[in-house]
């Protein structure tokens, strides 16, 4: 019965993803193309600049638009773009670099992923103990210190901490984080060391939300009757908290942990910018400023698809863990 319900629920959710994906694809395709200052204007401007002094060749906006394939109607461009993605997983050709964007986006994924994964691990290592302790010792100094620590991680913006880490060690000890990317397979240790600082900064800002949520739900759960029963059976605090309370307290926390994945991707954009890590985030920012539409749409589309799968995974976890969730 339960399994049947679960199956129907999964199928239903997968089917509901289709219209959402459709909306996402429309949004990512059209949004960037309506940004004021189109690529055509930008290109025309650069070409005129490049030609000053030499003999001018006529570069008209129409000519550029035609060579870039932007002269066909928007909805036709959209149709082609979507068709290419679903038939051969091709996200188009870069307007500036004149080469397929798919390979480069895929090549950048591991860097963002490694940064994110490390940050994730660090965040959980901080959030779980601090959250539990500050809930079971509510309003004690441990609670205050732990929470202040976590909130400072959130409040001190990652771009500021990143800047501080760049400046002070180099001023004081003449040490600064490597500007070049150290590939993992050439020097695993050097690579991990390079990623550790950015990942810690990112992880700290993520841990705060998880820790706050864990604290609140744990406080709620600790007030329920079955916890009272557990206490009155004479169980030790460790068993009551870890076995009885945590199982229920973790359910809403999972939502936050999944939600943090989004924050993490956004944070990675900033961190990559500061620490010169050539991940997807940097590619994205550069492409937005250069108006390289296929990159922007492609990265947006990939990230949004990952995001949708996260939402789905989250809801499935929720439905699986919490029998009270009605499969509506």
């Amino acid at each position: 019965m339960r399994v049947d319900n679960m199956h129907t629920y999964i199928i239903r959710r997968l089917l509901l993803m289709i219209p959402t994906m459709f909306l996402v694809s429309i949004a990512v395709f059209f949004m960037i193309r309506f940004i004021p200052g189109s690529i055509v204007e930008l290109m025309a401007f650069r070409m005129v600049q490049a030609q000053t002094g030499s003999e001018m060749t006529a570069v008209t906006p129409e000519y550029i638009r035609h060579s870039l394939g932007l002269d066909v109607p928007m909805h036709v461009q959209y149709g082609r773009w979507v068709a290419d993605i679903f038939t051969h997983g091709d996200f188009g050709t870069s307007l500036w670099k004149n080469k397929p964007v798919t390979q480069e986006i895929i090549a950048r994924i591991p860097i963002t992923f490694e940064l994110g994964l490390l940050a994730f691990i660090i965040a959980l290592l901080v959030a779980l103990p601090v959250g539990i302790i500050s809930a079971i010792r509510q309003d004690s100094w441990l609670d205050y210190v732990g929470r202040s620590f976590a909130i400072i991680g959130l409040a001190a913006p990652s771009f500021w901490l990143g800047t501080m880490v760049m400046v002070f060690p180099s001023v004081w000890w003449g040490w600064s984080p490597s500007v070049e990317l150290i590939p993992f397979f050439e020097d695993p240790l050097g690579n991990l060391v390079q990623f550790l600082i950015p990942a810690t900064i990112l992880g700290m800002s993520m841990s705060a939300a998880t820790m706050r949520m864990l604290r609140t739900t744990l406080l709620e759960v600790l007030r329920q009757d079955y916890i009272r029963t557990a206490w009155s059976k004479g169980l030790s605090e460790r068993i009551v908290v870890m076995r009885h309370a945590m199982k229920n307290a973790m359910i809403p926390v999972i939502t936050i942990i999944f939600g943090q994945a989004f924050v993490m991707i956004g944070g990675a954009v900033v961190i990559e910018q500061i620490f010169n890590l050539p991940g997807m985030g940097r590619l994205f920012i550069d492409a937005v400023f250069e108006r390289d539409y296929p990159y922007v749409s492609g990265i947006n589309f990939i990230l949004a698809s990952v995001g949708l799968l996260m939402i789905l995974a989250n809801d499935l976890c929720y439905a699986y863990l919490d029998p009270r969730v009605r499969y509506r």
Binding site: Y144, V269, A304
Partner: protein, 315 residues
């Protein structure tokens, strides 16, 4: 006699709230003080700041901190302290403005979605899912490039997008209310929809609205700083803390470290205070955290002790 006995209990909601805040939430009190200080700085920025925020003293560019420029001067000789003081005003404009829009949007989208339910809810949820599936910052960067930089733009964009994110809180609260017996009863006696929403739904989601508001202020301030840092938020010459850390701060960070330090410190303290305040407000107002045993419990012994006492008091 009854009245006399009941008197201490009829403290107004707000006084009661303040008393509980100070008694139970020292960190929240600290946060509240920081919030008050920030409000004071923002309101009286014109009197507190030694210089106007955009006044250029080109001879004193990158002047180190000292008597005249307490926190130093930037690359155009603008006083960093004055810019930070005016920055508080800007941050609060954005934080309060965007959060107010958050609440309104969350209510406008969340109440119908939760109340009407059915097909309407499913359709609304698809749009919300589509929007939430974008990593927040990536989406914000794209939208900000679309609408252009500026204070009002930042407030509206953060307000609307954040509000749609928060609407799930309102929606689930409305769904929960709809299933209560008093709601059924009101509907059974033929209460109109405006009456149902105004008298039964709205008062019961008020705590959630306050929570949404107080928890989103800090996030909005940080989001504005991040956007300005990336160059798609608030344009110069406005003294946004994020923008101060961006170009001026990072270009001269080795020669003039004060440019990179102080805006970040201000931002950190502000966000810390507002977050702590938001947490405390949530702890005190969230109906799910009301009552029960061991609100003051610090150890299992106290939990056990409180338990028997409260049990005995409650009929």
């Amino acid at each position: 006699m009854d009245v006399a006995q009941a008197e201490p209990r009829i403290r107004s909601g707000f006084t009661d709230f303040l008393v509980r805040l100070v008694r139970e939430k020292p960190l929240g009190t600290v946060g509240g003080v920081i919030v008050l200080l920030m409000l004071f700085t923002a309101i009286f920025a014109d009197f507190l700041a030694p210089f106007p925020y955009a006044e250029i003293h080109i001879a004193d560019r990158l002047h180190p901190p000292g008597a005249e420029y307490f926190l130093g001067a930037d690359n155009l000789g603008r006083d960093v302290l004055s810019r930070i003081i005016y920055g508080a005003r800007l941050s609060l404009y954005v934080g309060l403005g965007a959060s107010a829009i958050n609440v309104i949007v969350a209510a406008i989208v969340g109440i119908p979605s939760g109340y009407i339910g059915g097909a309407f809810d499913i359709i609304v949820q698809r749009f919300v899912d589509a929007l939430l599936s974008f990593p927040g910052l990536i989406f914000l960067i794209t939208v900000m490039s679309l609408v252009g930089v500026g204070v009002v733009q930042v407030i509206i964009v953060l307000g609307i997008l954040g509000g749609i994110g928060w609407m799930r809180v309102v929606r689930s609260a409305v769904i929960a209310i709809r299933e209560n017996v008093y709601f059924e009863a009101a509907r059974a006696i033929g209460a109109s929809i405006p009456r149902l929403l105004g008298r039964h739904v709205l008062p019961n989601i008020m705590p959630f609205m306050i929570i949404v508001f107080s928890m989103s202020v800090a996030g909005n301030i940080l989001a504005e700083a991040t956007l300005s840092f990336l160059g798609v938020g608030i344009p110069p010459p406005f003294p946004s803390w994020g923008a101060m850390l961006s170009w001026e701060g990072r270009t001269y960070m080795y020669e003039a470290s004060w440019l990179a330090i102080w805006p970040g410190v201000a931002l950190g303290i502000g966000v810390y205070g507002i977050s702590m305040w938001g947490d405390a407000v949530r702890d005190l107002l969230d109906p799910r955290l009301r009552g029960g045993v061991g609100r003051f419990a610090r150890s299992k012994k106290k939990i056990a002790g409180k338990e028997s006492k409260t049990k005995a008091e409650e009929p």
